[in-house]
């Protein structure tokens, strides 16, 4: 008997007492808090993102490029990576700011190798959804965000979130996401509390997370 057959047979025997069919628990409860208003939800989002040591800046659509460039300058980034689908207007603002703008393209013509990524200071992406109660940003790695490695290896991640992308609670985000995409949930910069439970920001992922919240 194969391992698969043997395990499944053990499990059928172990659950002989169960008489209900699968799915009989009914509807999955959606336990979520609700914001008093879209404005309050945005406030909460900004507050919680900042609480986990990320910077939050709010601006209008016209100012995004400038705000992003300023965030990169603050962290003294010389090179910045932009995914292919990033808003061209933001990219040209970055070029105008004098920072070196790079695409995900390595020496061999393919995507950047890990060691090439390691030499780049920062990355700018859009996002898929923001969650107010937890201060979380979720990426689904569409072309305006790029593949997963891009937001992982560089030291700084500047993430642009539109106000209409911010939902109130975790179940609202889960309902919007497409499970067939790779998904990365980000809440503040990387951190560890492994040494005496003393929290340290900036371990293997980006040390700096800048969130730009765009309001119409």
């Amino acid at each position: 008997m194969s391992a698969r057959e043997e395990i499944l047979s053990r499990l059928r025997t172990a659950t002989r007492d169960v008489t209900t069919p699968a799915g009989s628990r009914g509807e999955i409860p959606r336990i979520a808090t609700v914001g008093d208003s879209p404005g309050a939800t945005l406030e909460l989002f900004a507050e919680n993102v900042a609480d986990y040591r990320a910077t939050v800046q709010r601006c209008s659509p016209a100012d995004v490029g400038g705000v992003v460039a300023a965030a990169l300058a603050r962290a003294a980034a010389h090179t910045v990576l932009v995914p292919t689908g990033l808003d061209p207007a933001w990219v040209s603002s970055l070029r105008d700011s004098g920072i070196r703008v790079l695409a995900d393209e390595g020496e061999d013509g393919g995507p950047l190798r890990a060691d090439e990524l390691d030499g780049i200071d920062a990355v700018v992406t859009a996002a898929r959804v923001g969650i107010a109660t937890t201060g979380t940003i979720v990426l689904d790695h569409e072309p305006d965000q790029g593949r997963r490695a891009l937001t992982l290896v560089p030291d700084q991640h500047v993430c642009v979130v539109r106000a209409d992308q911010v939902v109130h609670d975790v179940p609202d985000a889960v309902a919007l996401l497409d499970p067939s995409r790779p998904l990365t949930w980000i809440s503040g910069p990387s951190a560890t509390s492994d040494i005496e439970l003393d929290r340290v920001e900036g371990v293997h992922g980006p040390r700096t997370l800048d969130v730009v919240l765009v309001e119409p």
Partner: protein, 493 residues
């Protein structure tokens, strides 16, 4: 593996570890309480979490097959492992086929349980732990003592020493001027591990959740070492206990509220990665999932005990446990310490060994763990359930069993109890009401506690005497309005 009692006695003598643990658990308890307090509907979430896990466990064959179908459709290869040996063999074969000399690892309880690192090392393959605490444990040739913060028993000075002594022999050495500042220590780990991340071709992970209706695996972490392992290498092998399955992607709406708040005391952990098989042009292009039984089907067969498989490894029960806080994680003789370990180890391994026989008794049944558990595992009830199993499997000839039977016989009839009490109170009168400092046979009690002597008169004797003083029978004012409840024979003496 010594019994819990003996290992705990040793651990209690380690004052440094006790201080580290008391500080750490108090810190994390306070953080958890704060973020759980922010959620109005926490109890509803707990119930929903327990229901989601129960749905999966009660129909595990159905959901595992669904998971397998979805994973396979998305380009992943699914393997099934009956036990640790089989799982290790599967992983080793894949690593060899890739001709890799090393693997990078995401912290995974399942791979610790099957001792995968040791098996890989025996086969000449380096398994690099990349979680900071796991790195500390691995470099220190140590064992983890906590589910969430495996090096909780180490303080900063000890960690600095381990890094300085050990890093150089397995890769980039620690900086010469390394201090014991946590930020500097974390930086040293970052530098040491980055070269390994950048060159690794194979990664091994576990999973926090495996979603049946989509084939999605989920890893919840903080440092980004998980993302490094899950994203950069070309081959990814995930070892997943079969109890990790969740019926629906929608269940994450519940679980991702319960887990971070219960575990690290954060509203959300810094990074959660979700992937569904192979994603074209993004991340590992060869994805393996090893579904591990290793005793879980045995746990599932116990109708009461199976709720232990709901565990999402958050470690909230450890952090509130007064026994864990004092005895430390190593006393539990397993990668699963604390209250959950006290039930899960004997359930997975049986109660044959000395340590597994002792674990169900490693609790004062105070109930703090049940209160903290985000998926409502009734650990105290399961501890008692397992104690019964230990007693039932024993010969019944131990001194304890003999005295229990004698006591049960005495309590079987109130006249026998009264006869025994007369002997005890007579003893009390002979001792003249002094407090005792040592009593033969009560050594364990009297080493730090005084023993009360029996009173001169039991309650029953007092009651009988009082009734004789007051022949009216029922003392006190009788204000019965309903006229029921006359004195019944057994209320008289």
């Amino acid at each position: 593996m010594p019994s819990f009692q003996r290992a705990a006695k040793e651990a209690l003598a380690n004052t440094q570890q006790r201080r580290n643990l008391a500080h750490a658990t108090a810190t994390i308890r306070a953080k958890r309480a704060a973020v759980v307090g922010e959620v109005d509907r926490w109890e509803e979430l707990r119930v929903a979490g327990a229901d989601a896990k129960d749905e999966a466990l009660h129909h595990l064959p159905h959901y595992l097959e669904q998971l397998e179908t979805n994973l396979t459709a998305r380009g992943a290869t699914v393997h099934w492992a009956r036990d640790a040996d089989e799982a290790n063999r599967i992983v080793l074969d894949i690593v060899r086929a890739k001709e890799a000399q090393e693997v990078v690892k995401v912290k995974s309880m399942a791979t610790q349980e099957i001792e995968l690192n040791e098996r890989l090392e025996e086969a000449g393959i380096h398994a690099w732990e990349t979680d900071l605490a796991e790195l500390i444990v691995q470099l220190g040739h140590d064992r983890p003592s906590h589910i969430l913060v495996p090096a909780i028993h180490r303080n900063r000075a000890e960690i600095r020493e381990i890094f300085r002594r050990e890093m150089g022999s397995v890769g980039r050495p620690a900086p010469e001027d390394l201090t014991d500042e946590p930020a500097r220590l974390a930086e040293a780990a970052r530098l040491h591990l980055r070269e390994k991340f950048l060159r690794a071709r194979v990664a091994v992970s576990g999973a926090n959740f495996a979603i049946a209706d989509t084939g999605t695996l989920v890893v919840v972490e903080s440092e980004g070492n998980g993302r490094m392992c899950l994203t950069l290498p070309e081959t990814l092998i995930s070892v997943v206990g079969i109890e990790k399955v969740l019926p629906s992607f929608e269940d994450l709406g519940t679980m991702l509220q319960l887990l971070p708040r219960s575990s690290t005391g954060e509203r959300m952990n810094p990074y959660t990665s979700m992937w569904t098989g192979v994603h074209d042009g993004d991340g590992p292009q060869e994805v393996h999932v090893v579904l591990l039984d290793n005793g879980r089907s045995h746990v599932l067969a116990d109708e009461l005990g199976r709720q232990a498989l709901r565990c999402i490894r958050c470690s909230a029960c450890l952090n509130v446990c007064p026994v864990y806080e004092r005895a430390g994680g190593h006393a539990y003789g397993s990668v699963y310490p604390g209250p959950i370990g006290a039930i899960l180890n004997p359930q997975l391994r049986g109660t044959g060994s000395e340590v597994d026989k002792s674990l169900p008794y490693a609790s004062s049944l105070c109930g703090a763990c049940f209160e903290a558990c985000p998926v409502r595992i009734d650990i105290p009830t399961l501890l008692v359930h397992l104690r019964t199993q230990v007693v039932d499997e024993a010969s019944g000839r131990s001194p304890e069993a003999t005295s229990m039977r004698a006591a049960a016989w005495m309590f079987g009839d109130h006249r026998r109890l009264e006869a025994a009490q007369r002997a005890a109170t007579l003893g009390g009168r002979l001792l003249g009401g002094r407090t005792l400092r040592s009593v033969p046979g009560l050594g364990a009690w009297t080493q730090a506690r005084d023993v009360p002597t029996p009173p001169r008169e039991t309650f029953r004797q007092w009651w009988a005497r009082r009734r004789q003083d007051d022949p009216g029978g029922a003392p006190g004012p009788v204000r019965q309005q309903d006229g029921t409840s006359t004195t019944t024979p057994e209320e008289e003496t």
